[in-house]
């Protein structure tokens, strides 16, 4: 669809979607959200761009191929399992590390965050692949 309004609006909407996606990812552990939802939001922003400019344009201007999202996501999930493996706790047991930052106070970082980020990336890739494949021109 080649309308100026949509094109300009999509720029801001997409930015907002990405921001929401990251927020959903980060707050997921305590409030509704998480990697899956974040990934879908980010995927939606890509779909929106495709809707505005056409999938062919999008494919041409993709700097990262969707496969790489999936691969890096899965690799990240595997990485998140390494600390538990080294500590010889059960497979994929969450490991948490508390960091005290000067301003923000206590911050808890754990392997589940890495895991969730892996899910986030993988879901983005999967969404884009669905999108691209379904709209493949005969």
């Amino acid at each position: 669809m080649n309308t100026v309004i949509l094109k300009i609006a999509s720029r801001y909407v997409r930015g907002l979607l990405i921001i929401f996606a990251v927020i959903a990812l980060l707050r997921g552990h305590n409030f509704p959200g998480g990697g899956f939802i974040g990934g879908l939001l980010a995927g939606l922003s890509v779909a929106f761009k495709g809707y505005t400019f056409g999938i062919a344009y999008l494919k041409k201007h993709m700097s990262i191929m969707p496969e790489w999202f999936i691969i890096s996501g899965l690799v990240m999930i595997l990485f998140s399992a390494i600390p538990a493996f080294l500590n010889k706790t059960g497979f994929m047991t969450g490991e948490w590390y508390k960091i005290t930052l000067p301003l923000a106070g206590e911050l808890k970082l754990g392997t589940p965050l890495i895991f969730d980020f892996g899910i986030f990336l993988a879901i983005i890739g999967i969404t884009i692949i669905f999108l691209f494949s379904l709209t493949e021109k005969e």
Partner: protein, 767 residues
């Protein structure tokens, strides 16, 4: 000992990183490994008191009570010496023999890995572990037979051996598991201590038969013998190593190893003896009429394997002693003869004995070593083969129950062996040189080193057998009965029944040989008998069976995998409904007890709108309306989720719904014109099926509310979400922490689905 096996792995990789000057000496490097391991086992034997056992145990799968057990006792030690000793000679031979071929790197890799696997097999003290090595030898045998994979016969032979021995391997595993359930252990030692328990259990006979299937396929016993002649497509070193000296003996090894645990029953004795006798006779009978050198050797190998199996079946101390001695006898002469066969083929370009002859003039040394080996095969003094044969006769004479039958057939087989040996010697080395190709020579002393060493060993041990008997055979026999056993081997036994039998054998064999060379008709007549009476070609029977089986599977697949998406979905839905109905019938009384409430009114409204949207999506006149109404239904469900305080679920539902609608709109223009094509009958069928499925799912949902687990898992999650998972959003903590593995599985499934969609919908023009 586990480190030795590791060494084999390391060396297999190492040979590819040799410095350039050494790159042509891969086989020599691997030979040095074999020699080193050989020396290791000798030193192990010298440093431990005779008859004792060295055991190394490594925890493997503790949950199943499985440990990796490596046992070096008399039996496995003897086999290890055989494997590494002959292995060294074979690598030495291969270094020269394989020079003209390409891809020798891979060949040596496989040969070396085979050697390691074979060593692992004989050292295994745990039957599951042994099975793994057993299958590894099968796999490497497959690759090695298919060395000339550009030839169709090679591929066919390789597949045949893989199928036959692979099938046997699977039966073996089943048998091991069956009998393992009796003792609750897979360690050989546990089986031996619980021997009576196993023998008296109901599973004994089925387990035994399954294990025998494994043994008989591996050791090429009748009627599975046919893969071994086919395996002669492999290069000579492989035939010398795998298909005569080591791998085919694995079955015999297993029989001896399991004798203390399973042996001694009538079933054991009769099944094994009968198979052994039949194989022994079949092999010898067909060997006489073959004209291809390697074929002759293959059939005599089958015969020898039959003898070995028969001897383990007779199951007296004497017969087991004879088996162990004959094992070495056969390994020595057969490995040597296969190397000589390779040598002759290399130098003359043919393996047909009809085209050979008179080689003694050009290859005198080869002739000498071949004579040594063939004399051993014929069982003539003073070779080790003579000792072996005497022992076999002695064992047969004293075998309980079936002595007369075994003896008569055994003597017949040996007479044929004598004839074959003499025919081989005569047709290849004596007479006129018929091949008009190149003049053969004996250049390349490495090719002759193997036959030389093995021939001399046969001769020396035959003349002075005391040391061999004491240091190799005695400890090996120790594992069967835990007492000091004195083994005496002598060339001269005095004038007794056994000597008389030997005399008869040699004279009849020589007589038959003379008859055959004087009267060409004899062999033609013999062949005629074979084609008329024994017209069954087992190899063809097997191939036909396999082809029919494949055809059957194809037809079956075709009828199930018809390629119509709608019928696939129909099948899945119907099957799922049937299963669920069954389960609901079994477990539930059909009274719905859930209190159906319609308050608050707005949720009732949402549900009604959702239902209406669903109905509208079916009857809507255009596609856009269908998509929109499906979206409405989806959002309605999301609202219900939200009301029942599942915000994560609701968000996900909304996002997925949005994405679906967006994607639908993107491909809307590509779809063909909207039309209603289905006839009314199809529509009714679909309606019935979907209503039925929907009804079942509703029942299931209602039922699910009522199920009360005594201790719901969700309580655990609620309690520990914050304290252990450091998160207040329980759903998310479950997803990324408590049940992270499940999530990983789901993401993997999604990934596979994504690639599936990608592959299904990619451009048709790409191949």
């Amino acid at each position: 000992m586990s480190k030795i096996l590791l060494l084999y792995l390391i060396f297999s990789v190492l040979i590819f990183f040799l410095p350039k000057k050494l790159a042509g000496y891969k086989a020599i490097v691997l030979m040095l490994l074999q020699v080193a391991v050989f020396i290791y086992f000798i030193s192990l034997a010298l440093n431990t008191p005779s008859g004792s056992t060295v055991i190394e145990e490594i925890p493997w799968i503790p949950g199943l009570g499985l440990n990796l057990v490596f046992v070096a006792d008399g039996l496995s030690g003897a086999f290890a010496l055989l494997i590494t000793g002959i292995g060294a000679l074979v690598f030495l031979f291969a270094h020269q023999y394989m020079k003209k071929y390409e891809n020798t790197g891979g060949f040596y890799l496989q040969l070396n890995l085979f050697s390691g696997a074979m060593l692992g097999l004989v050292l295994s003290g745990n039957l599951v572990q042994m099975f793994i090595f057993w299958e590894l030898t099968t796999v490497f045998s497959f690759f090695l037979i298919a060395f000339f994979h550009e030839k169709e016969e090679s591929r066919k032979a390789a597949f045949q051996s893989l199928f036959v021995t692979g099938f046997g391997g699977l039966s073996l595993l089943t048998g091991i598991i069956l009998l393992g359930t009796v003792t609750d252990s897979y360690a050989v030692n546990d089986w031996i201590t619980h021997a009576d328990e196993i023998r008296n259990s109901q599973l004994y006979l089925p387990g035994l038969v399954l294990i025998f299937l494994g043994v008989f396929t591996k050791s090429a016993q009748f009627p599975f013998h046919f893969w071994l002649p086919g395996a002669m497509q492999a290069p000579a070193p492989v035939s010398a190593y795998l298909h005569s000296a080591t791998m085919v003996k694995a079955g015999v090894f297993l029989l001896i190893r399991l004798t203390p645990a399973l042996g001694g029953t009538p079933e054991w004795t009769y099944i094994i003896s009968l198979t052994g006798v039949l194989t022994m006779l079949t092999g010898a009978w067909f060997a006489v009429t073959k004209t291809d050198i390697k074929s002759i050797l293959a059939y005599t190998t089958i015969s020898a394997l039959g003898i070995l199996v028969l001897l383990t079946g007779i199951n007296t101390m004497l017969s087991l002693k004879a088996a162990l001695v004959f094992l070495f006898v056969h390994a020595f002469y057969k490995a040597s003869l296969f190397m000589i066969a390779g040598l002759i083929e290399k130098k003359t370009g043919t393996r047909e004995i009809e085209n050979l002859g008179g080689l003694v003039r050009y290859m005198p040394l080869t002739f000498i070593f071949a004579t040594l080996a063939l004399f051993s095969m014929a069982g003539l003094p003073p070779m080790l083969g003579f000792l072996g044969k005497e022992l076999i006769y002695e064992a047969k004479v004293q075998s309980p129950g079936i002595a007369s039958l075994v003896l008569i057939l055994g003597v017949t087989a040996n007479i044929l062996m004598v004839t074959v040996s003499l025919l081989f010697l005569y047709k290849v080395f004596l007479g006129k040189y018929k091949n008009r190709g190149a003049i053969p020579n004996e250049k390349g002393f490495l090719l002759l080193s193997g036959p030389a060493v093995l021939g001399m060993l046969s001769l020396i041990i035959g003349l002075f057998p005391e040391f061999f008997a004491k240091s190799v055979i005695e400890p090996a026999l120790n594992i069967i009965r835990d007492e000091k056993i004195v083994v005496k081997l002598e060339l001269w036994h005095g004038f007794n029944k056994v000597f008389f039998l030997s005399l008869v054998t040699v004279l009849s064999g020589a007589g038959l040989f003379l008859l055959i060379i004087k009267q060409e008709k004899v062999i033609t007549f013999w062949r005629k008998i074979n084609t008329r009476l024994f017209a069954v070609n087992f190899s063809d029977v097997f191939t036909n069976f396999l082809n029919n089986f494949i055809e059957f599977s194809k037809q079956g697949t075709k009828s199930i995998q018809h390629g119509y998406h709608r019928y696939y979905i129909l099948t899945i839905v119907l099957f799922a409904s049937a299963l669920l109905t069954l389960q609901l019938m079994v477990t539930s009384e059909w009274k719905i007890q859930a209190p159906l409430s319609f308050r608050p009114f707005y949720i009732s409204g949402v549900v009604i709108i959702t239902a209406l949207a669903t109905i509208f999506s079916i009857i809507s006149p255009t596609r856009i309306l269908t998509i929109i109404s499906m979206g409405v239904a989806g959002y309605g469900i999301a609202l219900v989720y939200l009301y029942y305080s599942a915000p994560d679920l609701a968000i996900t539902q909304i996002l997925v719904e949005t994405l679906t609608v967006v994607m639908f709109f993107l491909i809307l223009q590509r779809l063909p014109r909207f039309a209603k094509l289905s006839p009314i009958r199809t529509k009714i069928r679909d309606a019935v099926v979907s209503l039925f499925f929907g009804g079942i799912m509703t029942m299931l949902a209602l039922k699910a509310i009522k199920i009360n687990f005594s201790n719901p898992v969700s309580d655990y999650f609620v309690e520990n979400s914050l304290s252990k998972g450091y998160g207040r959003n329980i759903v998310n903590v479950i997803l990324v922490d408590f049940r992270a593995l499940d999530t990983l599985g789901e993401v993997t499934v999604l990934t596979v689905a994504a690639f599936g969609v990608f592959l299904l919908l990619r451009k048709k023009s790409e191949p």
